[in-house]
């Protein structure tokens, strides 16, 4: 069953829920998307969570694109999709360390393809072993992390796969300046729940200097405490929580809604050329909506998104 308890009146709430207490109040990490992203700037390494077109931090990435941030270096989950392609299409990216970028059975990632073919973005060919190896080097406080299984391929010759003294591929520590994640639930202290797969997100959170999580709904701290085993990223790893209902659209948000095939189809179609991309997607869907609520209305509304599972194959 899809959830229907997302109250639109609570949209973008920015103040902590008051609790009766006589001790000093605990600091809320709930903030707005713009405030959370205020310090993301040129040259920074930005990690992008989710996998393929699922659980992507789409609203966060559209907000970055609206701010016209330039020259980012990005690293994404080994299988990636919308967020990588959109940031490239919006001209925000100088370098992308990626494994797989596509919309799977729905089509190729148009802006990524164009940029790779034209050489307008430096593509560092990576894969799961070299990306996770780099993240693990950071969480283990090592300069690099050998991965013995990268053998015989041209991936093993890419910049993401330097060799150590023993001749083994040993990706250097990846330490993102900021990581953008989308999950389904969190409390105001940054305790996060993924209702489906968390995939790379907890590792990105541990390896990154600053962690920003958008969630479909804010839940109470008492709910978190009632089932602590369901917390996938504990609050001490998280710097900012943003309430962003349907913030993963047109990607899915596991456990809340599935991906929007029509929306993704329109995205891919718009990406056919630079001109159509600007006219048919970047303008109407990224630049124009003044709020996430307006974006959600534009793409069909909350009820449409929640009902997607009935039409998406």
């Amino acid at each position: 069953m899809v959830s229907t308890n997302i109250l639109w009146s609570k949209l973008m709430r920015m103040t902590a829920i008051e609790e009766n207490r006589d001790t000093p109040a605990r600091r809320s990490k709930l903030t707005s998307l713009d405030d959370a992203l205020a310090h993301v700037g040129p040259g920074q390494l930005v990690a992008l969570g989710g996998l393929w077109f699922h659980n992507n931090p789409c609203a966060a990435v559209r907000a970055l694109a609206r701010r016209k941030v330039r020259d980012l270096r990005i690293v994404a989950a080994p299988p990636s999709s919308y967020v990588v392609d959109l940031l490239i299409g919006a001209g925000c990216v100088a370098q992308a360390t990626v494994g797989h970028v596509s919309f799977e059975h729905l089509g190729f990632a148009p802006n990524f393809r164009r940029a790779a073919q034209q050489g307008s973005v430096r593509i560092v060919d990576a894969d799961e072993a070299t990306i996770l190896g780099g993240l693990m080097a950071t969480v283990e406080h090592l300069d690099s992390h050998p991965v013995t299984s990268v053998k015989g391929t041209d991936i093993g010759r890419s910049a993401a796969a330097p060799r150590n003294d023993a001749g083994v591929v040993a990706p250097v520590a990846l330490r993102p300046d900021v990581c953008l994640l989308h999950a389904q639930e969190a409390d105001i202290y940054g305790n996060v729940r993924n209702l489906g797969t968390s995939f790379c997100d907890p590792l990105f959170a541990k390896a990154s200097k600053r962690v920003i999580v958008t969630v479909d709904r804010i839940i109470g701290n008492s709910e978190i405490r009632a089932q602590p085993n369901r917390t996938t990223i504990p609050g001490y790893l998280v710097d900012a929580v943003v309430e962003a209902p349907f913030g993963a659209h047109p990607c899915s948000s596991h456990g809340i809604h599935v991906h929007d095939e029509l929306g993704i189809g329109a995205y891919i179609k718009a990406g056919a050329s630079v001109d159509t991309w600007r006219r048919d997607y970047l303008g109407p869907y990224v630049d124009k909506p003044e709020s996430l609520e307006e974006y959600v209305q534009l793409v069909g509304g909350a009820n449409w998104i929640l009902a997607l599972s009935e039409v998406v194959r």
């Binding site: 393929w52 699922h54 072993a129 190896g133 299984s149 015989g152 489906g196 596991h254």
Partner: protein, 255 residues
């Protein structure tokens, strides 16, 4: 016309190659291999473990979902891993079967998903999607290849970019790099099932019913030895009925 689709045929043929007790991992755009695993579990391999690329262990879906990482695969599964669980297998091995398709697949079973037509600056004329996990081609005990397209553009002499290792340059090349697993053992296409000969070159093991051998030769970009191939055993009514009743209940493969 046959009374099954190409996808159904390929699903059944891959299912027959799976063994009871196998740990099998699937990738993107892999409805056929996923269905093959689910079918094998219901036919002859009840102890087969399937892990999807989102880390879903032994899904038991009400129907097949087009996206390999659709959240609906989660409901009813036995466990939900993370990217780290896939990394563990990437390094430690553990898995028996990995499935790969390719933008290009060469006669040695090497895979290219990265790009074709590279210029002097290293920019491809066609940039492919890339591959999330190349390690499984090294550590998986065996590799089953599949391709929905059987054309000269797909089946080439040599891949232009080696994304995942097949038999590399030929016999002994994997071993030279310390790769001790078997590598690709077959490739299922809508026209034929390929196997690998002693020289680790792809040859036709069997041709699917109703396919003209000339079409196979014309649509394969490398030389095939002779053309007197045995005919592929068609799906049995048992295989098709279990596939349709219990695995592909909404006809995603019926195409």
């Amino acid at each position: 016309m046959s009374d099954f689709s190409n996808d159904e045929l390929m699903t059944v043929l891959l299912a027959r190659e799976l063994r009871d007790g196998d740990l099998a991992v699937t990738g993107a755009s892999s409805l056929v291999p996923v269905a093959a695993c689910l079918l094998a579990q219901r036919m002859h391999a009840p102890n087969l473990t399937l892990i999807t690329p989102a880390g879903v262990v032994n899904p038991k879906p009400k129907r097949l979902y087009q996206s390999a990482s659709d959240g609906r695969w989660v409901e009813g599964a036995e466990a939900l891993g993370t990217a780290y669980d896939l990394f563990e297998m990437s390094e430690n091995g553990r898995l028996d079967v990995m499935f790969y398709g390719g933008v290009q697949i060469d006669r040695r079973g090497n895979i290219n998903l990265t790009g074709t037509g590279y210029d002097a600056d290293g920019h491809p004329r066609f940039r492919g999607p890339g591959l999330a996990n190349t390690s499984f081609a090294v550590v998986s005990k065996r590799i089953l290849l599949f391709s929905a397209a059987h054309t000269r553009r797909t089946f080439v002499d040599n891949v232009e970019f080696l994304t995942a290792a097949g038999h590399l340059g030929g016999p002994g090349e994997r071993e030279k790099l310390g790769i001790m697993t078997e590598g690709p053992v077959l490739c299922v296409t809508p026209l034929v099932t390929f196997e690998f000969d002693k020289e680790k070159c792809m040859q036709v093991r069997s041709i699917h019913p109703g396919v003209d051998p000339r079409d196979v030769i014309e649509n394969t970009g490398f030389v095939l030895r002779d053309a007197s191939w045995p005919i592929t055993a068609v799906p049995t009514s048992d295989e098709l009925s279990i596939l349709r009743r219990f695995v592909d209940t909404s006809g995603e493969l019926a195409g």
